[in-house]
Symmetry: C2
Subunit: 116 residues, 2 copies
């Protein structure tokens, strides 16, 4: 079973919509890099049971994103804020206009804050 | 049954997570301002059935927001982008520095784009 990098990202986002055992399996498999056998031992279920649990969770995470598209939307915003930060930094670095510099500094602070 | 303004906003956000009949009932009740009796006729179910459907949908929408908090997060971003736009506009209006003006214009365009 191949690990899909996108799953970790979607999991960060939609984790609360999974059941507790789904969360635990995905957490161990994707974030803590356990093998299926190790998770089976940890969760006291069969290796096939773990595989099903992870597979089901992956499908759910993809389905939530397919329906809501919020991860994609947040990503676009994140990238846009990066652009805004670098443009504001550019104003701060280059202008002699103190009012423009101060407003650009406020923009930078806002945009950095929104990225968190 | 009182109409809750927040429901319309949450519905815009989490609508795809409701079933088709839940979506239809909320749509008619909140967006098209139908009465429960009118929806009952439209959907060919009892008035009590409509009430239950709307109530259940409201609870689901609140529960999704409680778990994910994405509506709140988007709202914060929206407000921050408004601030960024007005600061950028302020730079554009006041500075004689053409490079700062041009970068502020780009910031404004980016921030407006992200709000959509």
């Amino acid at each position: 079973m191949e690990k899909n990098i996108e799953i970790s990202l979607l999991f960060d986002f939609y984790k609360p919509l999974l059941t507790e055992s789904q969360q635990q399996a995905v957490e161990l498999y994707y974030n803590d890099d356990y093998s299926l056998a190790e998770i089976a031992q940890e969760m006291n279920i069969t290796r096939q049971g773990v595989r099903d649990l992870v597979k089901r969770s992956e499908n759910l995470l993809f389905a939530y994103e397919e329906k809501l598209g919020l991860f994609k939307r947040f990503n676009l915003i994140e990238n846009g804020l990066d652009e805004i930060c670098s443009l504001a930094q550019n104003i701060i670095d280059k202008t002699d206009d103190s009012s423009a510099k101060s407003n650009a500094q406020k923009i930078l602070t806002f945009a950095e804050g929104l990225k968190e």
